[in-house]
């Protein structure tokens, strides 16, 4: 039967397995340094998750998710930077109490748009709302005019390039190419020592699961099915009485907000934010994570992100020049050979075999078994 609940049985098992992997196995097996690396990788999983909704389901390819990752990250970093720039920490500056890079750039008072970032609640709201509203504006401008497909992808790339140039150019306000470094405390709680890293890791995993459940909910709602329908026959959806543009804007905003949460987690876990996570190259890498994981699979996006990043870390340590070629090759190979990524390989090859193994190890109970009932995990009795 067609199911209307937002998590079905096999998905729930998948989510539990991922939870065990992230909450129990990784923290037990890895030292704090490696666990912090995983935390860094997982910040991209938020972006990949958003891309599953936006690109996988909605068919809207955004090559500018770094923009939203960056906006979320910078909002968080601004709060942390202000806290690290208290008057006593910065008394050697010519203007104490403002971030160090402002002082170096001969800025003598805190710019107006920085001031609200003294408040943590404002910052949390800004992490969600700034990228959300920005995505709403871009989405409305593009989708209401029926700009889609490749043109939309190119425009998002342009936005990523523009934002990078803006951040680098406005050094006094943004920290320029170096970004915002030396982030120290969150409400007086030091985020740098090992135990803080562990707490932040678990906090991040918790947020990731909240996002996974939101994504599951969207996917299993009628909106999720409309996104799939739109990807297939946009006109039919339009002539069934839906405003296609509004649904595209929604999917794009959800992806932007997920990316922004990832960015904010990045600032917290990694302790800095810089324009090198905003531009075109990181944005394309984020799409590759989703493609490798399987663009239709919510959990696949998380595994894809982890896998590509593990590969990146280990390969770029040994062959720094070759890594980019490897990444490009991986993307082409996945798209050509496994269009549904890891999730597709799992669904097409691994899962049926496991089923067969379980099936053959169980004694056959007469005629009651059919292939389909076993595949659904629902025996006839």
């Amino acid at each position: 039967m067609t199911d209307n609940r937002f998590v079905n049985r096999s998905e729930l098992i998948g989510i539990l397995l991922l939870a065990v992997f992230l909450v129990v196995i990784l923290p037990l097996c890895l030292d704090v340094f490696r666990l912090n690396l995983v935390a860094k990788y997982l910040t991209y999983a938020f972006v990949a998750l958003g891309l599953v909704i936006c690109w996988g389901y909605g068919g809207i390819l955004s090559l500018g998710q770094g923009v939203f990752f960056g906006l979320g990250g910078y909002c968080m970093a601004m709060f942390l930077k202000l806290e690290a720039s208290s008057v006593e920490n910065t008394k050697i500056q010519s203007t104490p109490g403002i971030p160090d890079f402002m002082d170096w750039n001969q800025i003598t008072s805190l710019p107006l748009f920085w001031k609200p970032f003294h408040s943590l609640s404002f910052t949390i709201a800004a992490v969600i709302l700034v990228p959300g509203i920005f995505a709403l504006i871009i989405g409305a401008a593009m989708f209401k005019r029926r700009v889609g497909g490749t043109y939309f992808a190119i425009i998002t790339q342009a936005v990523a390039a523009i934002l990078t140039i803006l951040i680098v150019g406005q050094q006094g306000y943004t920290g320029g190419i170096n970004g915002m470094t030396d982030l120290r405390t969150l409400k007086g709680w030091d985020i740098r020592p090992d135990h803080a890293k562990i707490v932040l890791y678990f906090f991040e995993v918790g947020c990731l699961f909240v996002c996974i459940f939101i994504a599951q909910f969207i996917r299993h709602s009628k909106l999720g099915r409309i996104l799939v329908a739109m990807r297939d026959k946009e006109d039919r959806v339009r002539f069934s009485g839906y405003s296609v543009a509004n649904f595209k804007i929604f999917a794009f905003c959800v992806a932007a907000i997920f990316a922004a949460i990832g960015g904010a987690m990045f600032a917290l876990n990694v302790g800095f934010m810089s324009p090198s996570f905003v531009g075109i190259v990181p944005s394309i890498e984020m799409v590759i994570y989703t493609a490798v994981g399987g663009r239709l699979s919510i959990l696949g996006a998380v595994y894809g992100t982890l896998l590509v990043n593990f590969a990146k870390t280990s390969l770029s340590e040994s062959f720094p020049e070759l890594w980019l070629f490897g990444l490009g090759g991986l993307f082409i190979a996945v798209v050509l050979a496994f269009p549904n990524g890891l999730a597709g390989i799992w669904g097409d090859y691994v899962h049926p075999r496991i089923d067969r193994l379980i099936n053959s190890s169980k004694p056959k109970s007469g005629d009651g078994w059919t292939d389909s009932s076993v595949a659904d995990g629902a025996p006839a009795e």
Binding site: T2, R225, V228, R231, K233, D235, Y242, F250
Partner: protein
């Protein structure tokens, strides 16, 4: 004209409708009227502008000039989804269904509820929806295929599914673009039967080439030629019109 005579209310009034694509007038100063519960068939040679007329009514193509009134409401100013919500349903020439969804989900999406973003998020599949989907599925001969992926249906079944998707919208004006094209003989018979059942209580605008089929269902026929009306009236009238025989039926 009698003084005080109230003009008759038409469901659809197309007046002086013109659309030009780079100077080529695909539809040129076209006027026609469709009454409530009328079945109107548009025929004409290829390139006569038949599909363009449907595109104009449903908002897919914007008119260069002229007006389309539906229940006295000007459609040329509305967006596509608003036209649908006003009560106009459109079936496309090639079956336009969602291959990646099941037959049930295809029909469910067309159910006229939860059409806003928020509405779609909070939409629940209650008994009203289920019953309506089952009812329509039975009508379009797909009752036992509800959980099948729509991609696996035959061409004729896809056409029926799209007709079903329109039925579930319950439009007052139903526009069908060549509903029996590419169907087998037995599918044609079933489709005629289906159409005869669904055209009750609504007006229908059909484009069709199959003359036998047109004779079966049409109340009135409009013959288009080069974007203009060549002839209009009952099938008998149109069939015997020398102009029509010359440009269309004679071939």
């Amino acid at each position: 004209m009698l003084i005080g005579h109230k003009p008759k209310e038409f469901l659809l009034a197309v007046e002086a409708l013109t659309v030009s694509f780079d100077g080529f007038k695909a539809v040129n100063d076209l006027s026609f009227y469709v009454e409530e519960n009328e079945i109107r068939v548009i025929i004409g040679p290829n390139g006569a502008g038949k599909t363009t007329v449907l595109d104009l009514i449903c908002g897919k193509t914007k008119a260069t000039s002229g007006s389309i009134q539906f229940h006295g409401q000007e459609l040329t100013k509305l967006k596509e989804n608003q036209i649908v919500q006003a009560g106009v349903g459109r079936k496309f020439q090639t079956p336009s269904i969602y291959d990646d969804l099941t037959v049930f989900e295809n029909l469910e999406i067309s159910f006229p509820r939860g059409r806003t973003v928020f509405g779609a998020l909070t939409f629940t599949r209650d008994t009203i929806v289920r019953d309506r989907v089952h009812e329509v599925a039975e009508m379009i001969f797909l009752k036992d295929r509800l959980n099948m992926s729509a991609e696996l249906l035959s061409h004729g079944q896809k056409q029926w599914l799209e007709i079903g998707m329109l039925l579930i919208q319950d439009p007052e004006l139903l526009m069908l673009d060549e509903p029996v094209a590419g169907m087998s003989v037995s599918e044609r018979v079933k489709t005629a039967e289906l159409l005869n059942r669904i055209i009750k209580d609504r007006s229908v605008l059909v484009i069709e080439h199959d003359m036998k089929f047109v004779e079966d269902i049409a109340h009135k026929v409009t013959v288009l030629h080069q974007g203009q009306i060549l002839s209009e009236g009952t099938m008998d009238h149109v069939k015997n019109d020398p102009k029509v025989i010359e440009v269309y039926l004679g071939h």
